[in-house]
């Protein structure tokens, strides 16, 4: 059983924002919504580290637990998706998320938040695969095409890994082994430890 996961290799991330723009351009996301972001700590000092983060598609996703309308659901391959037509934009998922993944474009009335938008692992949404509606609401459905999410595929230094958890872990383990040192994968304890 495949289980999709993200992993950002902190040692390799160079803060080029390739993943961010790949996601935005590929899924035609409005300006202001960041499904994926890169942050840098200790900028300009020794110990500067960057990391790219989006929805981690957690095993026991807090967002699903707090959603008052059950708009968020998890597929069997672990991908957490939101139904934009069910979402009411309350923002609880944002408060529950350890990664700051849920994003809210401005809605029509009072500028209140519209339906939540977040990383789909490039797996579209609950609409029919490749339908115009799916593309408009959620962007590409690359998983249905058998392709890797854009951010990971376009990562300049192959820092961001995405895909079957076992393979991602293998690749990362191999890297850490080659380096002779290294730390754990960032975010994995929070996102995936419960299963």
């Amino acid at each position: 059983m495949g289980r999709m996961k993200f992993l950002c290799d902190v040692e390799r991330c160079i803060d080029c924002s390739g993943c961010v723009v790949a996601c935005k351009e590929g899924n035609q996301i409005p300006v202001g919504v960041n499904r994926r972001r890169v942050i840098t700590i200790n900028q300009g000092k020794p110990g500067e580290k960057s990391i790219s983060v989006a929805c981690m598609h957690c095993a026991d996703a807090p967002c699903i637990a707090v959603c008052p309308v059950d708009a968020i659901y998890q597929r069997d391959d672990g991908i957490v998706l939101v139904s934009k037509e069910t979402c009411i934009g309350c923002g609880y998922c944002f408060m529950a998320c350890p990664f700051g993944a849920p994003q809210f474009p401005s809605g029509q009335v009072f500028g209140a938040r519209g339906a939540m938008d977040k990383c789909t692992f490039c797996a579209g949404g609950p609409e029919e695969n490749f339908s115009e509606k799916e593309r408009k609401l959620y962007g590409q459905n690359r998983i249905a095409e058998g392709k890797v999410p854009l951010c990971a595929a376009m990562c300049a230094t192959k820092s961001l890994l995405a895909g079957d958890a076992d393979i991602v872990a293998d690749v990362y383990r191999e890297r850490v082994f080659k380096r002779g040192s290294g730390s754990n994968a960032w975010g994995w304890d929070k996102a995936y430890k419960k299963k």
Partner: protein, 197 residues
């Protein structure tokens, strides 16, 4: 003009497995990504990106009848490969050039939005001329006629060295060559490009 259309068939994976679907998404049957990872191993940096359809019926192309055309990113000199998915003469999607030997599908933020060079709303649409401090749209013929007339009169009056041509490192090698050749045929060495700075 050269326009070769290339079709690239995706790598076929070896592993395939059917999966039980979440009741919520039961009506969709999607692919099992046996190794859907853009991960590169630390040793070989090879890409394992294999996928196989669960059932042939489930696979419907995102952009039917599209063709894949290869190009090279126009930003920096690394020369990252670009796979452009074109449907009915429209560039619909920038695909990942995972098998390009230098970039291995990698892009920085500029390269990841290469398609924007073509789709940007800010692209100029017609030749323009400044008249009384205002930009005025003119036709190509008018623009080229006026420019050529003025160039010729400057050449006659002041000589060929009264023109300076700033060429470009953003054009193709062929075009760069034409720019240098143009200066030679025009009769001046006043030609230069960004490599100077």
């Amino acid at each position: 003009m050269a326009q070769r259309k290339i079709r690239i068939s995706p790598d076929q994976g070896t592993k395939t497995e059917s999966i039980t679907l979440n009741p919520k998404v039961a009506r969709r049957s999607f692919l099992k990504l046996s190794a859907a990872t853009a991960a590169l191993t630390g040793v070989a940096m090879t890409t394992r990106m294999t996928a196989k359809a669960a059932t042939p019926a489930a696979v419907k192309e995102a952009y039917p009848d599209s063709t894949m055309i290869r190009s090279i990113c126009t930003h920096c000199a690394v020369g990252c490969g670009i796979n452009a998915e074109v449907q009915n003469g429209v560039w619909v999607r920038q695909e990942v050039a995972q098998d390009h030997p230098v970039s291995r599908g990698g892009y920085c933020c500029k390269g990841a939005s290469a398609i924007d060079m073509v789709t940007s709303e800010k692209r100029l649409k017609t030749p323009m001329k400044r008249v009384n401090g205002k930009w005025q749209k003119i036709t190509w013929d008018q623009a080229m006629d006026e420019i050529a007339t003025k160039l010729n009169s400057i050449r006659d009056k002041d000589g060929p060295d009264a023109l300076h041509l700033n060429g470009s490192a953003k054009v193709s090698t062929e075009m760069a060559y034409l720019q240098r050749k143009f200066a030679a045929f025009w009769g001046s060495n006043n030609v230069d490009h960004q490599a100077r700075i």
